[in-house]
């Protein structure tokens, strides 16, 4: 039980850190902590296979993708010139809107408490690591490749569509690669002082990559 509350605290704190961090890289670190805590929570829910998948796919693949894009977009920009992302005027209103939505969900939950009944169809729950127990690889695979084969095949289609879409989107349709390499990289976030300096035409030799 104490594990749940510790993990809940870690999850909420890291999630708040993700959305308040000044730089995208800090957000990625917060997201890493969030995903890891969530994987541990999956273990407490007897979902050992999905805990591993969470680490491999989220902490591995998706976060590396984020880090690569951040590195790509800020290449050639001196780190200290990448200004902090501003929290726009929508900060107060957005926070209030999210809190109202959360209050509505909590209200709905308390009005209609979920009725819990045991249901069969899966392997019995056992300690994590038990062969063939609920949530183990064998149990998961049995369900995935028999009852839920159609959703699994649809997943393959979704992934193929994603691959085609990424190639179409990011494919080389613009200027040639040499021209793009010569073009100056701009910071992903706007820094008013830096903009003003640029408009005044001041030399910006310190930005040279």
């Amino acid at each position: 039980m104490i594990v749940f509350w510790l993990l809940a605290l870690a999850l909420v704190a890291s999630a708040v850190f993700v959305i308040t961090a000044k730089k995208p890289v800090y957000s990625v670190v917060g997201l890493l902590a969030n995903f890891t805590a969530l994987a541990i929570m999956y273990l407490t829910l007897s979902a050992e296979f999905l805990a591993v998948i969470q680490i491999v796919v989220y902490s591995g693949a998706i976060l590396v993708l984020f880090v690569f894009v951040i590195a790509l977009l800020s290449s050639g920009v001196a780190p200290f010139l990448v200004g902090p992302d501003r929290l726009p005027a929508a900060a107060g209103g957005g926070t209030i809107a999210a809190l109202i939505g959360l209050a509505l969900v909590v209200f709905g939950i308390t009005q209609h408490p979920a009725t819990i009944g045991p249901a069969g169809g899966a392997a019995p729950v056992g300690p994590v690591g038990t062969a063939g127990a609920f949530g183990s690889v064998a149990d998961f695979g049995n369900a995935l490749f028999t009852v839920y084969l159609l959703p699994f095949e649809i997943t393959a289609l979704i992934l193929m569509v994603a691959v085609v879409a990424v190639i179409l989107l990011a494919g080389d349709t613009g200027p040639s690669i040499q021209q793009r390499l010569r073009r100056k990289r701009e910071p992903i976030v706007r820094d008013p002082a830096f903009d003003a300096a640029m408009h005044r035409g001041e030399p910006s030799s310190e930005r040279a990559s």
Partner: protein, 106 residues
């Protein structure tokens, strides 16, 4: 398997999932950096997944595990496409700020 076999009552998992989801919503609303907005969307996917797995555990039913797996797959596809769009937008325009993104205006 009854609810009492969970480490804590199911309502705690639902509440935690709701909190995480709306932290993600706040991130999408407040932040204007597309990368952090995408990360907030990942937070929301994960909140939904937590709910899937909590209910799967309570009902000892595999369906929640399967669909959490599918959600992870779709989230990976979404992240790849979203990041490709960010890269393309950054390539075409000077800044990446969703308030200034007008590439779809034609």
């Amino acid at each position: 398997m009854s609810e009492t076999s969970l480490p804590v009552a199911l309502i705690n998992y639902i509440g935690l999932s709701a909190v995480l989801f709306f932290i993600g919503v706040a991130g999408v609303i407040v932040r204007r950096n597309p990368l952090i907005m995408l990360m907030s969307i990942e937070l929301m996917w994960n909140a939904a997944n937590l709910l899937f797995l909590a209910f799967a555990r309570v009902w000892v039913n595999n369906a929640g595990h399967i669909f959490a797996f599918l959600v992870i797959t779709v989230a990976a596809a979404e992240a790849a496409i979203g990041l490709a769009i960010v890269v393309v937008a950054f390539r075409r325009a000077k800044y990446v700020d969703v308030d200034e993104a007008a590439l779809m205006k034609g």
